[in-house]
Structures are given as structure tokens and as C-alpha cells.
Amino acid sequence: RHQALVKEVSDLGETEQRLDELITKCNLQLKLLTEDPQNKKLAYVMCQDLRNTVDPPDQLLMVVKAPPGTQMQVLDPSEGMQISLKSPQGPIDVFLCPED
């Protein structure tokens, strides 16, 4: 039983290491993908796309575009329904999606 356990733990160690390599590789791939200028230009959604993702569709949709490092703070609702945004570098853009 001891030998079997040693083998299993060693296999699991290999597995974990393999997963770490894949996660590192995927993070790098995603970074390269999202920073590629051509992809950046084509990485957008339309207001209608957003409206199709909420149920019911006739809701108020607010889109927040913030610089990296912006802190969003959501209060515990027992103290009030409050959201604050604070950007360390540059203005934050907030806009509403039109109904139609």
C-alpha cells in the first residue's frame, strides 16, 4: 500500500506540474491575444449584444469603461445600495445603452 501511495502521489505531482505549465502558457497566450493591435480593434460588442444578454431585456444598462487599476467598491446592501468608482490614472467613462 505504501509503494502504491508513493507512486500515486508522484503521478499527481507530475499532473499538477503539467497543469501549472498549461496555465502559464494560457495566460501568456491570452495576454498576447488581447494586446494584439488588430485584435484590440475588433474586440467590441454592440449595445444590442448587451441587451440580448439580460433578462428581462427592457432593463437599464450602464456600461463602465475604466482605466487599469480602477477600484470599484460595492457597499454591503444592509448599509445601502451603493457603488463607488475611483481611478488612479485617467477619467472613467460611464454611459447608458439606449433602449432601442
Binding site: 502521489v9 491570452l30 491575444l33 475588433l42 437599464l60 456600461v63
Partner: protein, 164 residues
């Protein structure tokens, strides 16, 4: 007996970490598929229309989406440099980030919930590197694959048993 007990403990810890790392890898693969799918969709649409959509009608990634009832009253204060906002709501709201929106738009072919058709599975696999294809196949079988006992992954070039 003591050593066996320690090994058993170590084995449980490793299996728990592997499960979390597989979930993390699954999320990264979904993000990669969703992002590429979105870019390809927009590229096809711009080629069909022979022009990009009006700038004021598109929302570039990254963004955050907040939705609430149309009857919600929102009290909004903004600092003069637009670096600080304070929103007070009199009703509940929901907040989603861009990847969540892309999934809801179907950009990840329903892989996150195991509802991916065989046709879409082919497309999804074409959007990831070869070494990840078997993960995408595993994901299409549904969230249970995370708990699957036996899972193998095509690694370059050998086949290694990932979990026993």
C-alpha cells in the same frame, strides 16, 4: 502506517489543488475561445458591410456592465476630473464583466455548461492550440469532467495520464 497516513493526506491535498487548477485552466481556455470568436465575428461582419460600425455604437473591451430595473432611481455624483463616481440605487442591480457578457452572448459555444454541439465543438477546438484540444473535448462533456477520475491530456508529443 504513519507514513501511509501522511501520503494519503498529501494525495488528497494534491487532488484538491489539481481540481482547482483544472477549473482555472478551463476558465482561461473559455476566455481564449470567447475572445477569438468575438474578433472573428466582428471581422466577418465588417467584411460583409465593407466598413466598421459607427464608433459611437460599439463598446470596446474591457468594460463592466451594470443592469437594473428601468424603475430604479440612481443618484450619481461625479468628481470634476471624472476619476471618482458614486452611485446610490434605490433598487437591486447586477454587475458583470466582459467575459461573462461574452459567455452569455454564446461566444464560448456553451462549453462552460456542457451544452456545446458537435459542430461548435469542432470550431472551438480550432480556436485553441493542439495541446489544449483534449481539454476542450473534456469540457464539452459538461462540468463533471472537472471531477472525472481518469483524464488524459495530449501533451507534446507524449500522452500523459493527468489524473488517476
Amino acid at each position: 502506517a504513519q507514513e501511509c497516513q501522511n501520503l494519503e493526506l498529501e494525495k488528497q491535498k494534491r487532488m484538491e489543488r489539481i481540481k482547482q487548477k483544472r477549473a482555472q485552466l478551463q476558465e482561461l481556455i473559455l476566455q481564449q475561445i470567447a475572445f477569438k470568436n468575438l474578433v472573428q465575428r466582428n471581422q466577418r461582419s465588417e467584411e460583409q458591410n465593407q466598413s466598421p460600425p459607427p464608433q459611437n455604437s460599439v463598446i470596446q473591451l474591457p468594460f463592466i456592465l451594470l443592469n437594473t430595473s428601468v424603475r430604479t432611481v440612481i443618484d450619481c455624483s461625479i468628481s470634476s476630473d471624472k476619476c471618482e463616481y458614486l452611485f446610490n440605487f434605490d433598487n437591486t442591480f447586477e454587475i458583470h464583466d466582459d467575459i461573462e457578457v461574452l459567455k452569455r452572448m454564446g461566444m464560448s459555444f456553451g462549453l462552460e455548461s456542457g451544452k456545446c454541439s458537435s459542430e461548435n465543438l469542432k470550431i472551438a477546438k480550432s480556436l485553441v492550440p493542439k495541446s489544449l484540444e483534449s481539454y476542450v473535448t473534456g469540457m464539452s462533456a459538461g462540468p463533471s469532467w472537472l471531477n472525472q477520475d481518469q483524464f488524459t491530456c495530449n501533451s507534446e508529443p507524449t500522452q500523459t495520464a493527468l489524473l488517476t
